[in-house]
Amino acid sequence: MKQIQHSGLQWVSNNSTLLLFAVAIALFGILSPAFLSFQNAFNILVQAAALGILATGMTFVLLTAGIDLSVGSIMFLAGVISGKMVVDGAPLWWAGLVVVVIGLEFGCLNALLIYRLKVIPFIVTLATFYVGRGLGLFISDTRAINLPESFLTLGSGKVLGIPLPVILLFFVITLAHLVLTRTTFGKHIYAVGHDPEKARKAGISVNRILLGVYVICGFCAALGGLVAIAQLGAVSPTFGLQSEFMAIAAAILGGVSLFGGRGNVFPGTLIGVLLIQTIQNGLVMVNADPYLYPLITAAVIFLVVGIDSLQNQRREKAKRLGLK
């Protein structure tokens, strides 16, 4: 009996985010019937697209026990440059390509600084955070850039009735899932995240893995930025601010460990992103007091991270007992 109880509890703690997600849907559904509509579900997915792509890239970095604070700035810089280009008459695809290259370049820069200069990711990406934002502000003269109609149609376009951003999100998540579960590179990310020293002993080139994850993260940041501005139709000087924290929060909610080696993109990070967007959406649907928003977001993060910490303690204990 005790065993069953124990495993039940364990199931709850292992799937806390999923449960919260279900609870949130049920609660908002009861409070506002419009919440449960098909269209609203699509709205949540569309709104989750940019954050989801960002958080997917962040997951790769977090899995190696790293962190990337520069994603918001990459988003911003990519948005500003592509916006300027399109306003000046460059074709969309050309601007998109430049955006992606910017993302990749920033990822490379982050990775190189981290393993060449042996500076911790937090400091390196804090520096590139300022570089990206500073460059973006410089190029845009701190002015909002209003984008032509063609950009917006890209953001609200549909294929077979499914919004383009949603298709892109699922494409990115599927690819990331495939890379993490089905490729040598993916497995090496987990190994490096668990213990870089052991990984080196196992013949893994840790530097190559780090380069890979930061490049992926930079790429996702640029792509996420593109998806966001295609929906907004404008790039303001505050665009992308704090996006890095939202992405980290989503990944953590999805069960990705800040200490590396644990977590996945699907279902983990995806659920985390959907949970955040669902709560934001639901609160507007029920017209909650605006002062409640940060409190509820904080409560959710506390709850999930608290459960994760309990789990971690249990694992540590089990490990100590198991190895002695």
């Binding site: 502000l137 003269d141 002015r143 909002a144 209003n146 966001a228 139709g233 934001q280 507007v284 605006p290």
Partner: protein, 327 residues
């Protein structure tokens, strides 16, 4: 011989330094310190201040603190040690500006606080603020009159800013108090917190429109959120110009270039405008007055104005956004 050259070199360096430090004391110099130039509004303000200085034949020094209150304090101290005659500061927040005020008082340099009210303190200073509450109230009243004139019932939504920002809170209060006068025709069904973030605003407006598809009035606490509002309206098929039967009444605050464009293209009904030029003139005038020994009130209020379709031509020259070239 070598020593001789070294001495000569040293003397030369000292002369150059002395010349560099000794500024011609003829013209009055104003130190302008901005917390950041990360919004169009601050950029326009900074330009207007500099223009006001030139008009009055003043020199100016400018420093940007990039959001760092500490750095701002040091920059003002640098102003003081370089012997400026007056300081205009757009501070990081209400509290960190207090030591700055104290430093200026100690050096007996007049200081004007631009656009943010400092927390209560004993220093002597002059604050220039726009009347956020009153301007918002007037703007919303204009929208309310339009609503009442149409004879229809309206459901309303407001986009509110960062609740840690006094300006955002005052604008929200102005909106709510104005709406109270129009309870018979307007019902507020959604308050969307944006934390001054465009993506959150887009998601919030989309969601609110999902919950209440018949929303007919939207007020944005800042003009820079309009792209989000428009994008959401477009997606919901509700973006129509004034005169169209599906037109959603739109109101905003700030008076930036985007708002001006929307007014011109017949989409925006009314916009509360902070009179940047007036505020900047007030600021520079206040310093000159103090230097000339005149008494100056501790708070100078910019009453602002509401710009709408009917007074557009008349007021456009005073609207700072109208004078920015559209990127």
């Amino acid at each position: 011989m070598k020593r001789f050259y070294t001495c000569q070199g040293l003397i030369l360096v000292m002369v150059v330094l002395a010349l560099a430090c000794k500024r011609p004391k003829g013209r009055t110099t104003i130190g302008i310190s901005f917390e950041t130039l990360q919004t169009e509004y601050w950029v326009a303000s900074s330009d207007a201040l500099k223009a006001a200085c030139e008009e009055n034949g003043l020199d100016y020094l400018e420093a940007i603190a990039n959001g760092d209150a500490n750095r701002q304090f040091e920059q003002v101290n640098n102003f003081i040690s370089r012997g400026v005659d007056g300081i205009v500061i757009a501070p990081k927040d209400a509290h960190t500006v207090i030591p700055v005020i104290k430093a200026a008082n100690r050096a007996e340099i007049p200081i004007v606080i631009y656009n943010r009210l400092p927390a209560p303190n004993k220093g002597s200073y002059t604050t220039i603020v726009a009347d956020n509450y009153e301007i918002t109230k007037q703007t919303v009243r204009y929208l309310g009159d339009l609503a009442r004139a149409s004879g229809k019932q309206y459901k309303a939504m407001i986009l509110i800013g960062d609740l840690g920002d006094t300006n955002a809170v005052l604008r929200r209060e102005g909106f709510n108090d104005a709406i109270l006068e129009y309870e018979d025709v307007i019902d507020v069904v959604a308050e969307v917190p944006t934390e001054w973030n465009q993506e959150k605003a887009l998601a919030g407006v989309t969601n609110a429109l999902q919950a209440n598809p018949d929303i007919g009035l939207i007020f944005s606490s800042s003009d820079f959120l309009f792209p989000s509002v428009i994008s959401a309206l477009k997606n919901a098929g509700k973006y129509h110009p004034i005169g169209h039967e599906g037109h959603v009444l739109l109101g905003g605050f700030d008076g930036d270039a985007m708002a001006y464009q929307l007014l011109r293209s017949n989409y925006l009904d009314a916009d509360g405008v902070q009179n940047v030029y007036y505020e900047c003139d007030l600021a520079i005038q206040a310093i000159l007055d103090i230097l000339n020994g005149k008494e100056v009130d501790s708070v100078l209020v910019d009453p602002g104005f509401v710009i709408h379709q009917e007074n557009l031509e008349e007021m456009a020259p005073k609207m700072w956004g109208a004078n920015l070239e559209v990127p």
